[in-house]
């Protein structure tokens, strides 16, 4: 057993007590008081000794005796029994450890005070606890008015019950939440996109919350719509869509469910933009697994399903854009896409082509080479028949417009009719020429002109239109049906694509048939709408999720 060494240089008269909260004020002078300060940092120094009263038998007063440890002092105790050598009191010094402890308490007290001040002031509370700017629709004056009608507070309390509560209520709400802070296991079993109580607050205002397909399971509003992301509500990300459309199981279940439902159940009540192509609902529904437009979005259906434009109008885009026989426009320019296809007022869509605006400039419907100013009406077949039956009157009206004297009108008309009869015939013969002649069968292959030449402009209606002729005088022209919207499930804005040339997406110069659907393939869109292309390519760029207002009112 090793010998225990004595503590080195331990000075019993100079006991500094460095581990205690307070040290003697004389410690810095190397002469600590043996007693030291008390726990509260008060100096305990009194006198160098505590005299003892010696009382002999029979004495009543006795004698005070000095008990000084360093030896009896010369003067001895005072008559009242106190020591004659008082110790000068010191100012005890707090140890660093004590100071650190007090500073820690001060910081904690300050933290607590800040929290209580914030909690006690609703405006401060809203500002401090708000994790980000609330979107304008949920924070503006309109929302305040709407929130008031729904008996909700304008502030955080409109959506969060705790937002309109004090600290006690906030704590209570936290522990009443599902899951609560003590239900940690529940966190691991939480289902994704599960509808929560918060969604109920959304639907206080967003009534008739409906989804885009009947087979869709209800998911939480907050799964797709992220609030507190700035004044402009953040666009819905792909994650919300891929949650269902990227899940093979969900899609398979939806496909199975849709087989037992009538196609009408999936009829979209979209806000209509022009005449839409009546695309049939796919047998499996839209249940292909999709993770992103640039990744595995299916090819557009007009390609995969070989859609054909059923329009009966005979129009050759290639001829009009590249044909050598196509004359220049009155302004000297070549015919191009924009002459016929102009954006509508919104700019998002292309306005329908109009005969009077876009076609008549070339196709003047002139029928008498000697009278270029007199043209056939365009519209219903009955109007044309009536026009032909009233040719003498039409010639007289024309002459009147040209300033011919009234006495000469009849002569003018009979002369013109005689010339017409000589070349084309009149009555049923002329009607057949007007209605049924084509470029190959007509008396002249010159179809149109823009320079006022006097050549006849046959062929007739059948050159462009489907004309049915069952009996003499009975001509039926099928009205063209020009579909303006083909991909009805997606939104497209031409105004956002004006930087691109038309032919980049619409291969019109190679289209010779009306049946050609001149839309771009998915690959053309992906060139720009992809990570590589650098243009946004989220699902919401083209697709809507909720049924629009039209549907909600149904």
């Amino acid at each position: 057993m090793s010998e225990q060494l004595p503590a080195p240089e331990f000075d019993h008269d100079n006991y500094a007590r460095p581990n205690q909260a307070w040290t003697c004020g004389h410690a810095a002078e190397g002469r600590c008081c043996p007693l030291g300060p008390d726990r509260l940092g008060r100096c305990q120094a009194t006198f160098e000794c505590q005299p003892v009263l010696d009382l002999k038998p029979g004495e009543t007063k006795g004698r005070w005796r000095c008990t000084r440890s360093g030896g009896v002092c010369e003067l001895g105790p005072r008559p009242d029994g106190t020591c004659c050598r008082p110790i000068p009191p010191c100012s005890p010094r707090a140890s660093l450890r004590w100071q650190r402890g007090r500073f820690t308490l001060a910081v904690m007290a300050a933290s607590l005070a800040i929290l209580l001040i914030v909690l006690g002031s609703p405006p401060l509370r809203d500002r401090l606890f708000n994790p980000g700017t609330v979107s304008q629709p949920h924070s503006g004056a309109a929302f305040a008015a709407l929130a008031a009608t729904n008996h909700l507070n304008m502030s955080c309390g409109a959506c969060h019950l705790a937002g309109a509560s004090g600290p006690r209520r906030i704590v209570h709400t936290a522990f009443a939440a599902d899951p609560s802070p003590v239900e940690l296991v529940k966190l691991f079993s939480a289902a994704p996109a599960e509808v929560t109580s918060l969604d109920g607050h959304c639907q206080t205002c967003h009534t008739s919350h409906s989804f885009h397909q009947v087979t869709v399971v209800t998911i939480a509003c907050t799964y797709c719509h992220l609030e507190h992301q700035g004044a402009k509500m953040k666009a819905v990300g792909d994650a919300g869509c891929v949650f269902c459309h990227g899940n093979a199981g969900t899609m398979a279940a939806a496909a199975t469910a849709s087989q037992h439902m009538l196609p009408e159940a999936f009829q979209l009540d979209m806000v209509r933009h022009g005449l839409e192509f009546p695309a049939p609902h796919p047998a499996q529904g839209f249940t292909e697994v999709i993770h992103g437009f640039a990744d595995d979005h299916p090819q557009f259906r007009f390609i995969t399903d070989h859609w054909r434009d059923p329009d009966t109008l005979k129009f050759n885009h290639a001829l009009h854009l590249t044909g050598s026989t196509i004359p220049d426009l009155p302004n000297g320019h070549k015919l191009d896409c924009t002459f016929c296809h102009q954006p509508d007022a919104s700019g998002a869509f292309i306005a329908p082509v109009k005969f009077e605006q876009n076609c008549r400039v070339c196709h003047s419907l002139q029928f008498d080479p000697a009278t270029p100013g007199l043209t056939l009406p365009h519209g219903r077949a009955e109007q044309v028949t009536a026009f032909l039956h009233s040719l003498p009157q039409q010639y007289q009206d024309y002459a009147l417009r040209q300033g011919t004297n009234a006495s000469e009108l009849a002569t003018f008309a009979s002369g013109k009719l005689a010339q017409l009869r000589k070349v084309y015939g009149l009555g049923e013969t002329l009607s057949q020429q007007v209605f049924l002649s084509t470029a190959k069968t007509g008396p002249d292959t010159q179809v149109g002109t823009v320079n006022g030449a006097t050549r006849p402009v046959f062929p007739g209606c059948a050159y462009c239109h489907e004309v049915k002729h069952d009996a003499p005088g009975d001509y039926q022209v099928t009205t063209p049906v020009i579909y303006e919207r083909w991909l009805n499930h997606a939104a497209f804005d031409h105004a956002k694509h004006t930087a691109l040339a038309c032919e980049k997406c619409h291969d019109a110069v190679h289209s010779t048939k009306t049946a050609d659907v001149l839309l771009p393939a998915r690959e053309t869109c992906v060139e720009c709408h992809s990570l590589r292309g650098g243009v946004v390519n989220t699902c919401a760029t083209c697709h809507e999720y909720h049924k629009p207002l039209v549907a909600r009112t149904n």
């Binding site: 500002r127 969060h160 109580s197 969604d199 907050t222």
Partner: protein
């Protein structure tokens, strides 16, 4: 040294492996687990509690809770891992909103002060060993007082003393011996002040008799000791003062964190 290196490499290895594992878990699960933010938050809070328990462990030395040195290692490497967890919990984005920013600032203060403390506790003890052996920090005032008394006795000893030394002491040395000096210069390892003082003492020595020169030599020795004492005072105080930031703000952070948890649940989707 060998043991320290072994500890360092083992701790670093564990830290790197744990961090990579945490990052991989984050990559694979942060979008798949609906309550991922809650889970990562609770894990982070657990680690913060563990780190805070180190201080409690120091206050309970009598309990069989493992060696303090092991706790310190756990505190250091656990602290670095907590930074990784904190970034994961934030999903590597900047904090948003007043409360989140306050929390993040508190976390940053605690983290940075901890790292500074670690660097100081690695660097300063080595430097202390090079200057004058061990000095108990709490005894520095007493030693300084003793040196001052000795110097005053030599310089202002009485009628037989040198008036030149007395004048020099009053003019230059009295202030030097009165209190700790050159705190920041000692931290920068600068010896400029003591060298200037000793040079002045050397200049003075040429004007003195042999007897007085011997006294001046003793004063010079005391001056060197006082400078060494100031050096110890500066470095040891620094070793203790960083805790004035680390500890109080740790408790402030814990208080704000608890309230953060309450707020998260109170404003969660599952709250009424």
């Amino acid at each position: 040294m060998k043991r320290f290196q072994k500890q360092f490499w083992l701790g670093t290895l564990v830290l790197v492996v744990a961090s990579v594992a945490a990052l991989l878990v984050h990559r694979d699960w942060h979008e798949r687990l609906p309550a991922y933010a809650y889970i990562s938050g609770w894990v982070l809070f657990g680690f913060m509690l563990l780190l805070a328990l180190f201080n409690a462990r120091k206050k309970l030395p009598f309990l069989p809770l493992g060696r303090s040195e092991q706790w310190l290692q756990l505190h250091i490497y656990g602290g670095f891992f907590t930074v990784v967890l904190f970034l994961i919990h934030l999903n590597f984005r900047l904090p948003r909103g007043g409360f989140e920013i306050t929390l993040a600032v508190l976390f940053a203060i605690v983290t940075i002060s901890g790292i500074v403390g670690l660097l100081l506790s690695r660097a300063l003890p080595r430097r202390l060993q090079t200057r004058g052996g061990e000095v108990v920090f709490e005894k520095i005032p007493a030693i300084r007082h003793s040196l001052r008394q000795q110097a005053e006795k030599l310089a202002l000893g009485g009628p037989g003393g040198s008036p030149i030394i007395a004048e020099f002491y009053v003019r230059r040395l009295a202030v030097f011996f009165a209190e700790p000096r050159n705190f920041w210069l000692h931290l920068q390892e600068s010896r400029g002040p003591i060298n200037r003082l000793l040079a002045d003492l050397g200049d003075l020595r040429r004007l003195l008799s042999e007897t007085d020169a011997a006294v001046l030599d003793q004063i010079a020795t005391l001056t060197r000791q006082k400078d060494g004492l100031d050096y110890h005072n500066a470095l040891q105080a620094t070793l203790k003062l960083w805790l004035f930031v680390h500890l109080p703000f740790t408790y402030g952070l814990m208080l704000f964190t608890v309230w953060h948890i309450v707020l998260v649940y109170a404003f969660s989707g599952g709250a009424q």
